[in-house]
């Protein structure tokens, strides 16, 4: 074993003599040193954040008297803390899924239009305009959603409540379907917020479809749409999936817009499946209560919720990464 290691280890002397002669080698070294350093820094930062969350959360979790994952109670002070994230998980995931269900088809359609149909004079400014949506600050989205866009959505909510109210997620929920501060409105606003990411990434992959595949399909007598189906969409699929995941990650963590729009519920309100309901996401819960982190126990409870959001986002981003890697494997 030792001899094998000895053989494979690089001999230091020739390397250093070459390095002293060639600035290229020196550049390589500086660069690799910098990049290793930067990479390590990022990993250490992530670990430190994780460690911070865990060390703060664990003592509070140990004193918790209900199941943290299945309970929706939230009493974090006093001798008998009872808190759980089930309610937060529901609102966070459901609003983000609404956002994804709306943003992905629209984003893909827009990206296809911009890359495959639109003439260049239209495609460029249109793409720029959509990218501008990404530059709008969350607080603007929040206020716009609450004051202007939400009221426009209320009739939509009422339509669903009236005709599809028998489906639990569209239940009128004691007239809350007439309110702007619902999970549904938040989901739609989140959809608009993640639309630029989804569109930009999809646009990029669709534009990269190799000419050879497109011409191969056209030479078989494919129409424009058939060419898209045979060549562009299969090539872009992994990119679209990862775009959707990145959008989802963004929606899960969005704080300000959600906090502004969504109505909090009175403690003890029973859970309902309806989208026409208030509630809190992980992020909005923490933001709503940021003023009262006065004891380690309280802080710990909120950070425990933050930890779940961290893991959720991490998993979603990891899935996006894996899909991107798999795609590299077969695109030349």
């Amino acid at each position: 074993m030792t001899s094998v290691t000895g053989v494979s280890a690089p001999d230091p002397s020739p390397t250093s003599s070459v390095a002293s002669r060639s600035t290229g080698r020196l550049g390589d070294r500086v660069f690799s040193g910098l990049s290793i350093g930067a990479g390590t820094l990022v990993v250490v930062l992530v670990l430190l954040i994780g460690l911070f969350l865990v060390t703060q959360a664990v003592p509070a979790l140990q004193r918790n008297e209900v199941n943290f994952l299945t309970s929706s109670e939230w009493t974090v002070s006093g001798e008998h803390p009872r808190f759980g994230v089930a309610g937060l998980l529901w609102v966070t995931v459901v609003s983000s899924i609404i956002a994804m269900l709306l943003a992905v088809p629209v984003g893909v359609a827009v990206a296809l239009f911009l890359t495959q149909y639109a003439p260049t004079w239209l495609a460029r400014p249109a793409a720029g305009t959509i990218d501008l949506l990404a530059a709008v600050p969350s607080i603007v989205y929040g206020l716009w959603g609450l004051r202007q866009f939400g009221p426009v959505l209320v009739p939509v909510q009422q339509f669903f409540a009236q005709y599809f109210g028998w489906i639990p997620i569209f239940a009128p929920n004691n007239g809350l379907s007439g309110n702007v501060s619902t999970i549904f409105v938040v989901g739609v606003v989140l959809a608009i917020m993640i639309l630029p990411i989804v569109t930009a990434l999809s646009r990029e992959v669709f534009a990269q479809t190799p000419r050879a595949h497109i011409e191969g399909a056209m030479a078989l007598g494919a129409t424009k749409w058939e060419t898209i189906r045979t060549a562009v969409l299969p090539f872009g699929k992994p990119g679209v999936i990862s775009a959707a995941m990145l959008g989802l990650g963004r929606a899960l963590g969005e704080t300000l817009a959600v906090t502004i729009i969504l109505a909090t519920l009175a403690p003890g309100t029973p859970w309902v499946a309806s989208l026409f309901n208030g509630g809190e996401t992980f992020a909005s819960k923490i933001a709503n209560n940021a003023g009262e982190f006065d004891t380690p126990q309280k802080t710990g409870a909120f950070l425990a919720a933050g930890l779940v959001l961290f893991l959720l986002t991490f998993v979603v981003n990891a899935i996006a990464r894996i899909v991107i890697e798999r795609r590299k494997a077969f695109s030349e």
């Binding site: 056209m218 007598g221 494919a222 077969f330 030349e332």
Partner: protein, 258 residues
């Protein structure tokens, strides 16, 4: 099913640039016609006008007529998609659809034509793969990705894909230029076999290949770079290679070019 092609006084443009000028020729059914000539003289360009693939390039246009058994391919009411369904094309670099299996690659054209019947599909796939001399090599792995084959196999897969829809004409743009001599021979044999059924036009830089596979040869040339390419002459391959009418053809074929 093979059809005759008549090209009449065709000018071909990329935007304002006239790439090819005044091409007139007749391509007989059930024959192989080779296009030869120096690089940049417009062989690919002419080939791509024969199935209206030229116009997919932004700004590209043509002026003149291309008749397929007296039907003008560039008539106002002619649908380019329909033209491409009857005139198949094989490209210089093999381009199987990378996400599709071998089976699905060959079946792609049929599916575009609305064929859904499993039995019809698998019969046609088998017949086309046999026609492309690929069946024995892939029959046990039809569900594997087409991109996993060797270059020569991929090119034969593309030929199978093109003949699966029973085109009337098959256009090939340097189909062997990325292949080794063995795969090249396999494809030349294939051309010999399928010319019974199709009208074939092949672009090649390989004089021996033109001599081996074609019945007729068309020689293109261009006066100078930036000038449009022209058809110098088209004649029986035997005659072109032994006593061509034009001095330029003789110079090019005998290697005394430029």
């Amino acid at each position: 099913m093979a059809k005759r092609i008549d090209v009449q006084d065709l000018d071909i443009y990329y935007g304002k640039f006239k790439a090819v000028e005044g091409v007139s020729m007749r391509i007989e059914p059930r024959s192989v016609t080779a296009f030869i000539g120096p690089s940049g003289c417009g062989k690919s360009t002419v080939l791509r006008t024969l199935n209206r693939m030229h116009e997919v390039i932004p700004g590209a246009s043509v002026d003149g007529q291309v008749l397929l058994d007296d039907k003008d391919l560039y008539a106002k009411d002619m649908d380019p998609v329909a033209v491409r369904r009857t005139i198949g094309m094989v490209f210089q670099r093999p381009n199987p659809f990378p996400t599709m299996s071998i089976f699905d690659n060959v079946a792609a054209g049929l599916r575009l034509n609305g064929v859904k019947n499993r039995k019809v599909l698998s019969e046609t796939v088998e017949r086309s793969l046999k026609g492309a001399n690929l069946w024995n090599e892939v029959k046990d792995r039809l569900d594997k990705p087409g991109a996993g084959l060797s270059g020569g196999q991929q090119q034969r897969l593309c030929i199978a894909r093109a003949i699966a829809v029973s085109p009337e004409v098959l256009l090939m743009d340097e189909p062997c230029s990325a292949l080794d001599p063995i795969s090249t021979l396999a494809i030349e044999d294939l051309i010999h076999e399928i010319k019974e059924k199709y009208t074939i036009v092949i672009v090649t830089h390989n004089m021996q290949q033109a001599a081996r596979v074609s019945d007729r040869t068309a020689f293109f040339n261009l006066a100078a770079t930036g000038k449009p390419g022209k058809l110098i002459e088209i004649d029986d391959t035997q005659k072109m290679f032994n006593r061509p009418s034009e001095k330029a053809t003789e110079d090019y074929i005998s290697g005394r070019f430029g």
